[in-house]
């Protein structure tokens, strides 16, 4: 549903209908002995903002591939359980239909770019879907602006720096405005300000247009403050799933390779001292941290 803002409505996406169902999902890539996903169960509601974290190789990309149907339609292997995306069973739905519901930004942008110019790369999927010319131009302008890459419009994607390629790949998926946006470590090649801008654009899409966001990341400091939900995976399993503040307050996630924002770490150290300051709620931003200190000294 476009235009719903759950935050203004005063809550999380709790009451919203589910848009993704993952039921008892296990997956083993053809030729490997280990399962890359093991008995994953997950329900994501429309409009939720979900952050996926965990060690490199824990199965984040594999789970995302299951959500946009690349698994089992493109990758061979053994799949158990089922995945429903916007009511469609991924086993029986062609990927070009699924990708309209769930757009995916890949970890390696080189796998996503192919056209002669940045503009053509963004336009291509829209043209394929038969959008009228004006809408396509509008979307291109909007996506280029969201990523602040207007100057790259007529460049060849193959002659761009790593980070510039990543921005183009993201823009081309954003321009499709899918209901569900899957992003696989999208900020890994972006400079810090670009990474923050991207996150702001995504938050905006989530809030204004009610897009469901699932994003895998290692750099969490700019992301967690916006997340409804943090999912931590380990060796193909979901090991934590809930409110990021609660999860960070209750334990150290370093064993899962997850680095909390540094302010959260400082707050946990402060709490461990049992001194004059105690954080009941773990701060996720510098602002939240400093406000707490100000309140204490009045």
């Amino acid at each position: 549903m476009l235009g719903t803002d759950r935050r203004e409505a005063g809550g999380e996406a709790e009451g919203a209908p589910a848009i993704i169902h993952v039921e008892n999902l296990s997956f083993r890539y053809y030729g490997s002995e280990q399962y890359a996903l093991r008995d994953v169960n997950l329900v994501v509601r429309r409009g939720e903002f979900v952050v996926l974290a965990g060690r490199s190789g824990c199965g984040k990309t594999t789970l995302l591939r299951c959500l946009n149907g690349l698994i089992p339609n493109f990758y061979e292997g053994e799949m158990l359980g089922r995945v429903l995306v916007d009511g469609m069973d991924t086993r029986y739905t062609p990927t070009h239909i699924l990708s309209q519901a769930a757009g995916m930004v890949f970890q390696n942008p080189d796998n996503q770019l192919f056209a002669l110019s940045v503009e053509a790369d963004i336009a291509f999927p829209l043209e394929n879907l038969g959008f009228p010319r004006e809408i396509i131009l509008e979307r291109i302008n909007w996506a280029l602006k969201a990523l602040k890459i207007e100057d790259l419009r007529y460049r060849s994607p193959f002659e761009l720096s790593g980070g510039q390629k990543q921005k183009v790949a993201i823009a081309s998926v954003l321009a499709m405005k899918p209901k569900i946006l899957l992003l696989d470590e999208p900020t890994s090649s972006l400079d810090p300000v670009s990474a923050r801008n991207l996150i702001e654009s995504i938050v905006e899409l989530n809030k204004r247009e009610g897009l469901t966001i699932i994003i895998s990341e290692h750099r969490l400091e700019h992301l967690l403050p916006h997340a409804d939900r943090l999912i931590v995976m380990d060796r193909g399993m979901i090991v934590r799933d809930g409110d990021p503040r609660k999860i960070l307050r209750d334990e150290d996630l370093l064993v899962y390779g997850v680095a909390p924002p540094k302010v959260s770490e400082v707050a946990r150290c402060v709490n461990a001292h049992r001194g004059c300051l105690k954080f009941e709620e773990i701060p996720l931003t510098v602002h939240e941290f400093v406000e707490k200190v100000r309140r204490l000294i009045g």
Binding site: S56, L160, S189, V293, I297
Partner: protein, 276 residues
């Protein structure tokens, strides 16, 4: 060990990616190359192993002018891990990928085996020795590229965005690897956007903008300079922002460990509460 003398590089398409870069890097230094997307970091790194040759000025590595050296000659001294690690691979197994360069340099098969095993285990890839490099996860591909360089340990090690795809534990390992290589007298130059990683490693930092070097200094000097950071799309590490914002209770901006910051904060607070 390395010197860039007024280096300019213009891509065939006409983009000027390096615009008068001059710098010197000594043997055994650890250098982080930072700066916004498209500022010229990768282009600079590719000059170290002669993949690109300056269109003006010169690059000298270990006494050799890269324009007069062959790539094979330079490859003995300089190892480069690509931003897109996958583009380095061609072997059918992870093991062979690491062994290739060593065999090429004529190492004895016994030593090849030992080194490959050690490097793969260090990078937590032991279980994947027989897998295809192309089927690894994104982070694993990067670690394989790092394992190749680690096994071979050339004089100059250039790493293009080594932390991408790595979780916190692996980043800490990578830091350990970089320090280990430095101990062995290797010179390490890494481009990175990961300010938290750099704040922890505390290397010399070279900052680039639009093909020029605009700052060069110690980690504190650069990462606590907010005006400089802002001018080149960088953000301060979170500890730097936090300690700066806590200035009103007498805390100084720093890159200290969270534990120390917590202690400093509690000390400052108890002083204030006693005094007030």
């Amino acid at each position: 060990m390395i010197s860039f003398e007024d280096v300019e590089y213009v891509y065939p398409s006409g983009v000027k990616a390096l615009d008068g870069v001059s710098l010197k890097i000594e043997k055994g230094e650890i250098v982080a190359l930072m700066g916004e997307n498209g500022s010229g970091k990768t282009t600079l790194l590719k000059h170290l192993n002669g993949l690109l040759k300056p269109t003006r000025g010169r690059v000298v590595v270990d006494g050799v002018d890269t324009r007069s050296a062959t790539i094979a000659e330079l490859a003995r001294r300089v190892g480069l891990v690509f931003q897109n690690a996958e583009s380095m691979f061609f072997s059918s197994t992870v093991w062979e990928e690491v062994a290739f360069a060593l065999r090429n340099f004529g190492y004895d098969e016994m030593i090849v085996r030992r080194r490959v095993e050690w490097a793969l285990n260090f990078m937590e890839l032991g279980d994947y020795a027989e897998s295809s490099p192309f089927l690894l996860s994104g982070g694993e591909k990067k670690r394989l590229a790092l394992a190749i360089i680690l096994a071979w340990s050339p004089e100059v090690i250039a790493l293009d965005e080594p932390t991408t795809g790595q979780d916190q534990l692996q980043k800490e390992k990578l830091m350990q690897m970089i320090r280990l290589l430095k101990e062995q007298g290797r010179t390490i130059i890494a481009s990175t956007h990961d300010v938290e990683f750099v704040a922890q490693l505390k290397p010399r930092i070279i900052v680039m903008r639009r093909g020029k070097v605009i700052a060069d200094g110690g980690a504190e000097e650069i990462l606590l300079n907010e005006d400089l950071l802002r001018s080149c799309n960088l953000l301060p590490p979170q500890i730097a922002s936090l300690t700066r914002e806590l200035g009103f209770i007498g805390i100084k901006p720093s890159l200290k460990h969270p534990r120390e910051v917590a202690k400093e904060l509690l000390d400052a607070l108890s002083r204030i509460m006693r005094g007030g």
